[in-house]
Symmetry: D2
Subunit: 272 residues, 4 copies
């Protein structure tokens, strides 16, 4: 508990997001009905979170982030929390809430922590830009402080996560400074060479890639974390609806025995 | 509590959403890294929820739904629940969960109820397609059962919601049967003429428009409700981040005294 | 969404729970510091929910309800949702929220539904008090409507739940009318004799017993449901803390392979 | 995300809380039906969280903690989050979850932080037990680090919180070492004398008192935080039920204009 804050001027408190009048809704200044049908959901999300619409290339990157974290099958803790809420008979919004609540520092919420780690690492490197040296120092520091795996590194299943490769490649095509993604790669390399660490075990994970790309886009860590949350909500809903449709209530959700019975691998045609 | 369900075959339980192997992730069969950068978040959401990618015109409609419900300023209950979570010092994911939890039958969750209402109304109308007559009967039924406002009708601020007009117009451009949207309009008309009801008070609201459009697209009510939830998550995050950035913790959030200080009204240039 | 309600008189809205002044807190009229050390938590809970302190015999029954539903090992959906939230690194309050969210109509929230079922059954029986006949009719109705198991009946593990036996026995010692508990027993009997039902499968469960006892105490269904929620919170916290203390983060929580390693069976000495 | 943890022995994972067999439930070894009617909810809570039943004097203190934080009227963030969830039409369990989610570092969750602060302070004091000196150093440290108010200090309304006085008095009657409560008082004194701080503004609050008493009882910070959560759940439910019973859905909950209309101040007779 904290002491009561001083009153804001004239007894009013400001908000800069959405103006509401009777029969009129302005999102960051734009009439919402003008945005509908003209602007994608990814772009509207960026507008709401940052104040401006993205350029086309940033738009594409934001969508790639949002698509990349949209689902990861049945095993992530948020997905299982959502399925357990559903098996008790609770509704879809409860499943989403239970899932989002299960974004902790080991899953999902490490996006914000990784943004912070990269900012700290870049501060250590300073204007020298000697990432190899700075990241080796940071790796040593992390080992000493028992912060292994660091946020943004390591995965239960993937040693070379295809989402990371793809997101880094898309970011590379953008004409922005790429200090965060470069630093992330340097740190991955430093970790792989650290004598105390098993070199295979700490690949960049998707949380780390999202953090670095958001850092390069100048997005604060709250926005990076927010994008990860937004991204996963369709996945949580899909699992809740599948649980309702295909499984008996109050079943034991035995992790070891699920099997995938969806479509076989397929590929996009020439689209867009 | 229910009795234990019979075992599924061979001790396994199926899921058709996302297949995970080491270094490979297939969402409804598509490699996720192939979707990244090629498919919008709205399209990936549709894919995950329905099993297939949308046609371009459906894609545009899904994005319009998602953009249309993205935020409604500071007064909706989910937004205020999110801001109260934030003022206590809880993180962004908690704000989202508190917000999503506050989707009840009067706000947000009425999307699913409205889909049901429209299905029931269309059942009553049967093959006759005499919507004027059927909807007048349904209006009478709703008045008798004290179900006024029905789900999908009425708004605290808007008498003619610009989002509804726009979404109905976009749906009209689609070449699908439009029974649900037509029925919704017929029911609005019947309600406006019912002698027991104040004719100004029950316009179609955005929840109703989303329900009808999803009905016309053949989406089940769980998906319609899910789209409403997905849509609002960026808004909840934006309010949480603004609360963190601009306001003291533990403040009293006095609804009567907020003011908008964002950009003045502005318009899209020729985009897309 | 519903139309804006009419203003309450004089722009104020009432609350009858707790009065706050500087350095003074009155819960239902009692200074909170006077309650502390003199009144048990169960009694303070009853005071807050109903407006008055309980008699000693009601007090004992409320505590029995709260103790009876406090934990049920690792398999209930709320417990697993709480453990999944914890394994991701989220904090104790998140685990509690994820657990409470997982009270659906098949678990926990059936307490309120069962109160309703009993009220309906007693209405059907009317002043005749012919519970055998009325409950047979209700059993038939439930079978016809495919509402098997009804709320308050059936359990995954227990055919004769010791908590039910004990709670019914404690309720029996009270000098109140016991229509709800009698009706519940009559309905259990009717279900066991219904030809379409396997007679072993639908014992009264603890949710049903709580519902009936609350009905006999004249507590509304919201309070009955509330007591079930309150009761389980210590269990959710205990599982979250045990998960933090004894298990690695991001583990797969495989239901089939847990084992109990706590104290062997023991008994209370002469206490109280 | 972290690498997959090594398998626990024999593919099983342990839990020491509650053993379940058909028709048998042992909580920390005690048959639950034996606890029902013989052990209070506060004692069962202590048993579940710590492994043993409390002594009578500890039992009284635990109940005093649980009663002391049970409700604080309409203004705390968790209460408002719960009321906003309810006004949207969401159910009681959602209101509880939204409330518990709103335990952040400024409200509720500062209990755990304050336990940590006291442990750190006692470490600094070491065996010297010179609390005046050590707490002055800690106060200086907190001011320098801009950690004012520290967890456990300051309140929006109360300058001398009656709950704190009462809880400290009850703790004083116990025959345990009271280092944490003594240190808390010493730190309050040091803060009141620090030249940079307004001496009236930083009284011990109830979170601080709970933290110190739990520290003296040897309860870890997770348990202290857990007790605060358990304590408030009845309050959240009472507000949700009152909101349902007395207020229109979708109302604007205007903080500035509530009024208390419950019973006037009254006092316990000779009880116990």
């Amino acid at each position: 508990m904290v002491p009561r804050p001083p009153e804001t001027t004239a007894g009013t408190w400001p908000t800069a997001l959405t103006a509401i009048e009777a029969n009129k809704i302005l999102v960051r200044g734009y009439p919402i009905d003008e945005l509908m049908g003209r602007v994608s959901f990814g772009n509207a999300t960026y507008l709401l979170l940052t104040g401006e619409l993205p350029t086309p290339s940033i738009s594409r990157l934001i969508d790639a982030i949002l698509v990349g974290f949209i689902d990861h099958g049945v095993t992530p803790p948020p997905t299982l929390a959502a399925r357990h809420a559903t098996t008790s008979g609770a509704g879809v919004s409860n499943a989403v809430a239970a899932g989002v609540l299960s974004f902790g520092r080991h899953y999902g919420s490490d996006v914000g922590l990784c943004v912070q780690l990269l900012e700290d690492g870049l501060d250590m490197a300073g204007s020298s830009m000697l990432f190899a040296s700075a990241s080796a120092d940071l790796a040593e520091h992390l080992v000493q402080r028992d912060r292994i795996p660091p946020p943004g590194f390591g995965h239960r299943f993937h040693t070379s996560d295809p989402r990371v490769t793809r997101l880094m490649q898309l970011a590379h095509e953008l004409e922005t400074e790429q200090l965060h993604t470069q630093y992330l790669r340097a740190l991955e390399h430093a970790l792989s060479r650290h004598p105390a660490l098993d070199q295979e075990r700490l690949p960049i994970n998707i949380d780390g890639a999202i953090a670095a790309v958001c850092g390069d886009l100048g997005l604060p860590k709250g926005v990076a974390e927010g994008l990860a949350i937004i991204s996963r909500v369709p996945g949580l809903i899909a699992h809740a609806l599948e649980e309702q449709a295909r499984h008996a209530p109050m079943r034991e959700i035995d992790l070891a025995s699920h099997r995938y019975d969806g479509p076989a691998e397929r590929h996009l045609r020439e689209r867009r």
